[in-house]
Each structure stands twice: as structure tokens, then as C-alpha cells.
Subunit: 285 residues, 2 copies
């Protein structure tokens, strides 16, 4: 079976030993790999980070859909049995197209994060933090209100959190000052639940929890999506029956300076088996 | 004369009333527009910011050259008489190709910044701060040492300065803390001259000067390139003889949330005459 064989229907050739695929616009999705491996430790995982074309947040909707379809095809060529779209931008834009075009369980960040936030909140005051692109689209607000229109959602962009996470400044004074600046309004508004609407943000959980208050539930969409994919695979009888720790394989479209250091911070362990994918190969998939 | 007419040799159809063109991967280059307008207030200026494809620092050399050629063609279709490449990445990679392909004065950031640093330094200990991509390439070091191999150059990436500048946090406590963290080594090393190797950094001049010490010369490559383009146009007798304030026109490939606010912070005044260029149109230029 050839990865270039476009007639291969997605969904065929897969069994419960097949890996779960995850793609992201960059390396942020490695925090989702970490959550998925914690929830389903025996599953094999294939990750693709589109590091050459990051960020997706500044690109047009049609470009984000096109890239997401390419990324999905790349993962399918690795025989994945399900896909998690770890990029919040791609999740909010491309999921309907992906579900229509590919016959495989596909889960984004928005729906699981929104559902978990509604399960946890008591006062129905929910905060959402993310990049300017994600919060500007109000993707979480729309999804939360679609499920429960009595919920009160406040979104707040926190653009400095991504570079702070990439610098690894998880406990720097500056990080505390910046978190205070970004989160003070949400604290004043009395939210009891806060969605981390960007895959980088779990790296800063300690600071965020400290500033927003220890009684506020933090929602990690990576945890939520791992729970949901577990349910879906269970229903389809596609969970692995292996008892050994799953293998992980990583593909990226570019390897930047400091890639390994940042990737390992996000993944929470040493990163091995990293392959570079040519952009040209990607657009021909 | 048609902008699509590829046989039109660059350099023809231009006179001393023609505008000066500036392109950048995004909006950072607006700080260069500000400097250029201060140096040559009567010149008309056309700016192109490739905001849909920013950042260039994470892209391959061939892609950066390809985009730079496209951006140059776009500016030539506006009949510019000279071009400033305000993007440090494009400056360090694409200038030789641009100079070869286009018969018009073309000036980047690296050469003027390096020359001015060498003019100002007394102890020949020069610091360079920039994005991880720029400092990783050691573009300024190479150029400074090419001119004077006895100079001692220390480069330091300051990734948080770009989002801090875009947030407009020019005097926030967090900015001081971050500048302290980034600049303490350079201060300890006893540099007497510091190159701001990223077009965003002039926004943070006050904090940077305070932390690095008031006796250290800050080199703004935008100022240096404006001086150099003035000299070149003088030689070619292409400076305007107008006595009225020059007109400014702005083109971008995408208009983001908060674009106007950030653009005005960088430009130092209200931004008008902003046009959106289609990426497709750009690649066909």
C-alpha cells in the first residue's frame, strides 16, 4: 500500500493497533500528545507539526482548510485510525470539511473544551484565554452557547503567553506580572472556570492557576480531547489491546533553532524519532 | 504602462518625484517608514507589509528570496525609484538576488546597521539583539566582521520583544523585567554599542536604553538605512525637489485584528490609505 495512492479510502487498512494521529500548526500540540499518552498510554501516536507554515491564525479560512486537508492526508498515509486536530484555529475552521472528506474519527479542541467547561462550571461564568486569532473568532463562546445559551462567556487574548511558554519562563517574575495584567479582569468578573484555549498554555498552568485563584477550574482542551477520542474509539472497538507503552513518532515541516529544547519542554520528556517532511511532498499528498 | 508588463525594465519611468518603496514581512517596517519620513520628509513613500505570510524567519532561504522578488515587483508596479528592505531576514538572504534582478537602488537593514555600529563604537564591543532567526544567522556579526575583523560582536535573541512591542507595553513592569533578563549579559560584557536588529525594537527604545545603560549607543537600522538611501539618491540626482510633506501609501497582504492600533503605534501617527493586496495577485506580479 502506497502513501501516494489517492484511491485508498480513509478508514481502510486500520485496526486497533493503528496509531492515533495528531496535527498542529506547530509544536504547541505536543502538550496534547502528552495528555493523550497519559489517558491512553498503550496507544501509538503519530504527530505532525506544520512548523514551516505556523501560525495558522493569520491565514485565510480557505488556506487553513487546505493545509488541514494536507495534514490529514499525511497522517492517513501513516495509517492512523483517528485524528486529533490540536490547533485551535484549524479546529474552529476546518473540522466540518475534514469530517465530510475523511471517514475516520476526527476531534478538534473547541468542542471537547467547551463541553468540559460546561460540566465543571457551577455559576456558568466561563473565561476563555487564547491567541488574538482564536479569541477574535469567539469559537469557544459560540460552541459553549450552542450547548447552553444561559452560559456567560468572556474571552481574553493573551498574546505573550505563547512566547513565554516557548522561552520556558514558567515561573519568571515577568510571567507573573503578565498573567496578572491579562487575568485581572476575568478574576474580577467572577468566572469559576477558565478554558486554556491555546495548546501552549498548559505549560504556564501553575502561574495561571495562582493568579486566577485556586478555586477556578482550568480546562485543558488536550485532556478533554483525549477523553473524547477514548470514548469514540471505545464505541468503534478500535482501542488497542496492547499492554506495552505506545510508540510515538514525530513529523515536522521545519526544524527551527531551539526546536528540541522547546519540544521537550512541551512533551515533558526527551523527543526522539523526529522526521522532516518537505512542504512540496505535503501539498502533493 | 502596465504593472503586469514584465518587459518593463525596472528603473525606467522613474524620476525624482517617484516614491521610495519599503517592504517588510509584516508591520514592523513601519518604524522604518517613520525614520525615513524624518530623514526625507518631502519624499513620497509606498509601503508593503506581507502580513499574510509573516514571519519570514521560519521560512527556507528560497522561499524568502521568492517572496522578496514578488514584493519588489509589487513596489515597482507603483513606480518606486528605490527600495528599502525593512525585514532583517529578507535583508540577510535576498539582497544579492534583488540587486542582480532589479536595476534600482536597493538597501537592506544589515549593511547600514553594521556600518553605523562601527562608526559609533569606541571599544569595538558591539551587541546585536534580534529575533531568534536573525541572531541565529549571525547576519550582523558577519557584516561587521567583514568590514572590521577586529570587532567583537555578541548576538542575543530577544523573542519576547516583538509581542511586547505589539502589545504596546513600552513601559510595563514586565517589559523592564524581561529587558533585564535579556540584556544583563550584554551589559556585563561591556558593550558600548547595541544594534536593534529587529524593526519592532525601536518601540522599546526607552526601556532598552535604561536597562543597557545610558552610555551605550543604540543603533536603529531604520535610521541608518534612511541615511544611506539619501546618499544613494543624492548621487543619482533622484531626491525630490518638492517642498511639501510627502504622501504615504500602505499595502498589506492581510489586515489582522488590532492592525490599525499596532500600525499607528509603530508609525507614530494615524495610518491612512491602507490597501489589501491579494496573495494571488502578488505571486502573479
Amino acid at each position: 500500500m502506497n502513501s501516494k495512492d489517492k484511491k485508498q479510502p480513509a478508514g481502510l487498512g486500520k485496526d486497533n493497533q493503528s496509531p492515533i494521529g495528531i496535527f498542529d500548526s506547530g509544536i504547541g500540540g505536543l502538550t496534547v500528545v502528552k495528555r493523550l499518552a497519559a489517558t491512553l498510554p498503550n496507544e501509538n501516536i503519530v504527530y505532525f507539526g506544520d512548523t514551516a507554515r505556523v501560525p495558522y491564525g493569520s491565514k485565510s479560512n480557505s488556506t487553513v482548510v487546505e493545509y488541514s486537508v494536507q495534514n490529514t492526508k499525511l497522517l492517513l498515509s501513516k495509517y492512523v485510525k483517528a485524528i486529533i486536530v490540536a490547533c485551535n484555529t484549524a479546529s474552529s475552521i476546518a473540522i466540518p470539511t475534514l469530517k465530510k472528506e475523511f471517514n475516520i474519527p476526527i476531534i478538534g479542541m473547541i468542542e471537547p473544551g467547551a463541553k468540559m467547561a460546561l460540566q465543571k462550571t457551577r455559576n456558568k461564568k466561563i473565561g476563555v484565554i487564547g491567541t488574538r486569532a482564536t479569541t477574535g473568532n469567539l469559537a469557544y463562546s459560540s460552541e459553549i452557547k450552542r450547548i447552553d445559551d444561559t452560559a456567560n462567556v468572556i474571552e481574553k487574548p493573551c498574546p505573550l503567553f505563547v512566547p513565554l511558554a516557548e522561552e520556558g519562563w514558567t515561573d519568571h517574575n515577568a510571567t507573573h506580572e503578565i498573567a496578572e495584567e491579562y487575568l485581572k479582569e476575568l478574576r474580577r468578573d467572577g468566572i469559576d472556570t477558565l478554558v486554556l484555549g491555546c495548546t501552549h498554555y498548559p505549560i504556564l498552568t501553575n502561574v495561571i492557576q495562582k493568579i486566577i485563584g485556586k478555586n477556578v477550574n482550568l480546562i485543558d482542551s488536550g485532556v478533554a480531547s483525549a477523553e473524547l477520542i477514548k470514548e469514540e474509539l471505545q464505541k468503534l472497538d478500535l482501542l488497542t489491546n496492547s499492554n506495552t507503552t505506545g510508540l510515538q513518532e514525530f513529523y515536522v515541516s521545519d526544524i527551527q533553532v531551539k526546536f528540541k529544547e522547546v519540544a521537550e519542554l512541551f512533551l515533558g520528556k526527551e523527543i526522539e524519532h523526529v522526521h522532516k517532511v518537505d512542504l512540496e511532498e505535503l501539498s502533493l499528498e
